[in-house]
Amino acid sequence: MQDLLGLPIDASAHGPEIDHMIAIVHWLMAVLFVGWGSFFLYSVIRFRKARQSKADYAGVKSHMSSYLEVGVALFEIVLIVGFAVPLWAKRVNEFPPEKGALVVRVVAEQFAWNIHYPGADGVFGPTDVKLVSADNPVGLDRSDPDGKDDIVTINQLTLPVGKPVIVRLTSKDVIHSFGIPLLRVKQDAIPGQVIPLWFEPVETTENIKERLTKRYQIKKGEYDPRFTAMVAMMDYVDTENNLIAGKGNLLFPDVIDMLAEAGHNEILAGPDTPMEIACAQLCGLGHYRMRGYVAIKTQEEFEAWLSEEASYLPE
């Protein structure tokens, strides 16, 4: 059922439970629809005027339908008690201890996701609206000892694999929604409120990228719009061995044309950023591309990334 529904790749620890529940609900829907549908089709054909010239005043006399309705009600009770409530409670009540988790602040704004890491000391520096500027999107007080080592990125959410992540979510301006389909995470970011959420990524994005890599036919002058979000997954050269597109290069229309001219008629391509934060709440004209990039790295890569970021910090 999960494959049939076309759910995206699931890279979080809690995701399969949600997918499982989606599948169960859809089974119920399918059974009801097919059941009703068969009854409906049979009735419409069997009781057409040509076949049944006189209607039966009483119609159905059995009380099967009442049992059916009770059955549906019971199933819904099972759904709520057995699945919905415990799953939800796990999401909003049973947070992992902060000690073993990575805590990040996410501050949404029109039209970007500002990601705030506590830095080496593990403590978030204080923030103030008055300090907000183009260089300091979250209004972090760098003069405070806690704030000195904090790392702030825009649209780059980098996380280690296999470790619970707690996100403290808020917004600077309007309501946004922090949705990561591949992690089965969604939560509205509401100004004036800080709402926590948590999840645990279980697969690196590099891995997902490999899994989503496919061969695509190309032709000069024909640009598959899907390429806008894709990169080459190996090096491509022209006849004189000059590099046209290296592994990881974006596939712009001119790059595709050059590749086609050089005699390549198919390329190996994968998504540039397989896991993205998709804003799910209308937030203005840039809503459609209020997109963050999620990178799930191994613990070592993650630490290397953190220290690289730390090297950019102002004195």
Partner: protein
Amino acid sequence: MRFIASVVVTIVLSSFAVAGDVSGKVSFGGKAPAMPRLRMDADRFCRSVHRQPVSSEEVVVNKNGTLKNVLVYVKEGLTGKKFDSPKEKALFDQEGCVYIPHVLGVQTGQEVVIQNSDNTLHNVHTLSTKNPSFNAGQPIKGHKLAKKFEKPETFKVKCDVHSWMGAYIGVFSHPFFAVTNDDGSFAIKGLPAGEYTLEAWHEKYGTQTLKVSVGASDKKSVEFKYSGS
């Protein structure tokens, strides 16, 4: 009719050479502050178009020790005079996820063509107070938007999609303004004879004024001096 009249007046005025030019430079003393590198990884397109790191244009000190992107204009001395809006359009471009130019001077009523030369969404958000503020999205490369500003003021323009993108537009009721370029010089031409207060404006270091008296066919040279911390 009005056009012809103004042409005639211009010709008459210039033939009598009652106008003077003011030129000069804006020098910068002290240590140039290090400008932060602009991190464009928030947008896949922006990241990919720059091979070299791009720095903020907040303070740009030229090699010859002058300051770029200073708006120099006549602040006082033109009271009572009216100037027609020029026919030529001013271009305000967005290319490589930065504004070109970073500081633009235009005249009231002059048409400003705001153009997106990038393959990504930009939104032009004017933080003007006297002119009506607008916020227009330009999702497609090559999109142009024509706007006119009717009230003199200097305001910031920003892009909400790319937080690092900021520029300034100065609107003047007269044509006597200039923006310093790569050698820190500026030239204001065709000023009618008279006493003027010139003002220089910089987004970080603020304004400076000086007085200048321009006679017929004068060629005056002035210098503004800014200094870092």
